[in-house]
Amino acid sequence: MSINADLATIWAFIIAFAVFAYVVLDGFDLGIGILFPAFGVGEQRDQAMNTIAPVWDGNETWLVLGGGGLMAAFPLAYAIILPALYPPIIAMLLGLVFRGVAFEFRWRDPRHRAFWDVAFTAGSVTAALAQGIALGALLQGIAVDGRAYGGGWLDWLTPFTVLTGMSVVAGYALLGATWLIAKTEGGAQRHAYRLARWSGVITLIAIGAVSLATPFLDHDYYSRWFQMPGILLTAPVPLLIAVLSLAFWRALGREAQYLPFLLTLAVFALCFVGLGISMYPFIVPDQVTIWEAAAPVSSQVFMLIGAGIMIPIILGYTGWAYWVFRGKVGADGYH
């Protein structure tokens, strides 16, 4: 491998890391939005909101890093993938607009709080669904014509992408519920345990369904997963997910505080590894590899310096902000 190949791989990992950080961090924010209708109006909702109010903005920034990083490190992929996913991307952006302003507006305007609560939920569900659809659309493949997208406006809409869209909604709900378990006490926490059970079951079914459907998409996913020697690498992934699921149910059973959230993160990480196994080294399945899409070495090196210095610092002060707002969000309320 030349130095360029290494750089492209490094950048593929950095962007994968940014997307993963986005998925798990904003995932629980969006999950709380998805579960919002299940919370009692008033204190229960306010409390759920308060667990994420200080951190949601930083969580969402990983999405900008994912998109911006893709444009910078793999401009050709950015230029092909985004037009291919035009409607879901626009829907996601509009959903995030409603979700983001609802945080501020619901405090400002108690008379219309009910409306902003609906906007918060609708925005969160729309964004989560659109992200899941985008993921599925990328997995099932994108038509390429030269250096541009070569398909139609609705190519992204298939039964498979509807499935991945709904799966991401369920997964985010699980993240939100387990986050609330960690951050609340008393009646609110009991409610969160109930929600975690439900969303846990649905998420596991969804993971199973997507995992079974993916190898039968018309790419070489099947051979990667089910033939020697690939199966030696791939077999541990579903086995680990099964082990983690068992641990998750036991953690819920003995009312662990932080373990359900951490185990959910681990499940998400494994799903991510599975995605990586399916896709690498393609960035557009069967069409464009990371090396074909890569920006010139000087662009990638210049950014690598910045990313190498800044990402640890960002993780440091983001961790500090989480530390400042650590602990349960108050036991009062819930009379």
Binding site: A53, M71, A79, R108, G306, Y317, F325
Partner: protein
């Protein structure tokens, strides 16, 4: 439904609309973040309650404006890919890293410390809280640095090579790309513009409450409001001291910075003349070359068909004086520019005049306030206060007019003289772009209109003496929501 439209025109309208809407919020929050840092610093140094009151008052407004800036900004970061894929592919190796640096060095800094700034005063103590406020303010600057570097490169591209795939790729020096010829001028002009914009909003807020107090004679007495006045008025006016402090600080800013801004704008104009002469020709309305001194057209109607300015009101030779510092210096006109490289004159001509006219009005307001201050009448001249109130939104209009001038003046190119706008777009279908444009327009007007209305309501209420941290929300210290009903006394520092 949109089949009759040109998809590229729709995509351009969409970009213009979303970026104009977006920039309103950073223009405000760059200045406001600095103002908040100054207020908190003054409070820590002097211990005066009025600075803490003002800090707590403006931070609520900042929170709303910042949220709107964030969500409209995310739209921008994805719109390059959805609507301008060819541009993204070709310029990604150069502009991508600049924007990635913006995320890494600015956005995370702002977002990471915003939570502590908004809700963390009691958790981390005064010193660390002030540090968080300063981090957020610093983040707004760093953000301006990178995004204006990227934008400036589109106007004055340097330090690049073109590879076999037709992409702009970095040459040997990133410094040549980042510090391209128009960047220093644009950065200074834009940041000062943001400061002026914020100063005018703060000044209008102070003026509004001074005018209101004239009717109730409240604000001129210092200190908190008498209970009897509150009882008579369900919407108590701001503390008089807060209103006066705001107005005074804002008028200093206007008086000092407006002339600096006019100078900085002039410098940028000369830089533009050097690198983008066609843009300046459009700004000036010079269809014809003037070999011996060009007139300054104050007003007129640019006539694109006849290639002249109808009904022009001119000052002879003044344009040459401004641009060349010589009455008789020759100035080329658009007759020297091929038609297919000419920007749309009328838009540039008018937006430029709006910007300059408002700049002059800001200068006038600043000078007027100096006269009032010199006579010790700063808080007593209602006409000055009315003028400041009317000028409240002027900064936003001037900033948007300035952006229209520079961006439309770059047409018909996205990368000046190298990449045409018509060759930059994604393979778009008009119905998709049209539908998303309608959705953006509807959502933006509704959501940001309501947000702006909330800000106006907050401004009308004003800063009260003993301003509580967060009134109508559970107090979010430690993310704790105690019972929603809180007495202000419980949340004092």
């Amino acid at each position: 439904m949109f089949d009759a439209f040109d998809p590229i025109v729709l995509a351009r309208i969409q970009f213009a609309f979303t970026v104009s809407f977006h920039f309103i919020f950073p223009a405000f929050s760059i200045g406001l973040a600095s103002y908040l840092a100054v207020l908190e610093g003054l409070w820590l140094r002097t211990g005066k309650q009025v600075y803490l009151d003002l800090f707590r008052f403006w931070i609520k407004i900042f929170a709303v404006a910042f949220a709107m800036g964030v969500v409209s900004g995310i739209v921008m970061s994805y719109q390059f890919g959805t609507n301008w894929a060819v541009f993204s592919d070709k310029t990604g190796p150069i502009l991508g890293p600049l924007m990635a640096y913006e995320v890494l060095t600015a956005f995370f800094l702002e977002a990471g410390f915003l939570g502590v700034m908004l809700f963390g005063m009691k958790k981390v103590g005064k010193g660390l809280h002030f540090a968080a406020t300063c981090c957020v303010a610093t983040g707004t600057f760093i953000s301006a640095f990178w995004i204006l570097s990227a934008n400036s490169w589109m106007h004055t591209p340097t330090g690049f090579e073109i590879n076999a795939a037709g992409q702009f790729v970095p040459g040997p020096s990133w410094a040549a790309i980042i510090f391209n010829p128009s960047f220093p001028y644009r950065l200074v002009h834009t940041v000062i513009g943001a400061y002026l914009t914020t100063a005018l909003v703060v000044g209008a807020t102070g003026a509004w409450h001074l005018l209101k107090a004239r009717r109730g004679e409240v604000a001129r007495s210092s200190g908190p409001i008498e209970p009897s006045v509150v009882a008579a008025n369900p919407h108590p006016t701001a503390s008089g001291e807060a209103a006066r402090t705001m107005f005074s600080m804002a008028m200093w800013m206007a008086a000092v910075v407006a002339p600096v801004q006019i100078f900085a704008g002039d410098m940028q104009g000369l830089n533009t003349l050097e690198h983008q002469p066609a843009k300046v020709m459009a700004m000036e309305g010079h269809y014809d070359s003037h070999p011996d001194g060009a007139p300054l057209i104050l007003f007129g109607l640019p006539n694109a068909r006849e290639k002249r300015v109808d009904y022009a009101v001119e000052i002879p030779k003044a344009s040459s004086l401004i641009l060349k510092h010589d009455l008789n210096a020759p100035l080329a006109g658009l007759d020297t520019i091929p038609d297919d490289r000419e920007p749309p004159v009328a838009i540039v001509f008018w937006s430029f005049r709006v910007m300059v006219g408002l700049g002059m009005a800001m200068l006038g307001l600043g000078l007027w306030s100096l006269v009032a201050r010199a006579r010790g009448r700063l808080y007593d001249w209602p006409w000055l206060h009315r003028a400041a109130l009317v000028m409240g939104p002027a900064g936003f209009v001037a900033v948007i007019a300035g952006w229209i001038t520079t961006e439309v003046g770059r047409q018909p190119f996205t990368v000046y003289n190298l990449l045409r706008t018509t060759h930059s777009a994604s393979p778009l279908a008009a119905p998709a772009v049209g539908a998303s444009l309608v959705a953006f327009v509807a959502v933006y007007f509704a959501v940001f209109g309501i947000g702006t209305w909330y800000i106006v309501k907050l401004i009308q209420k004003g800063a009260e003496a003993g301003e509580p941290e967060i009134q109508d929300a559970p107090i979010r210290t430690a993310g704790i929501a105690p019972s929603p009903v809180q007495h202000p006394t419980e949340v004092q520092q």
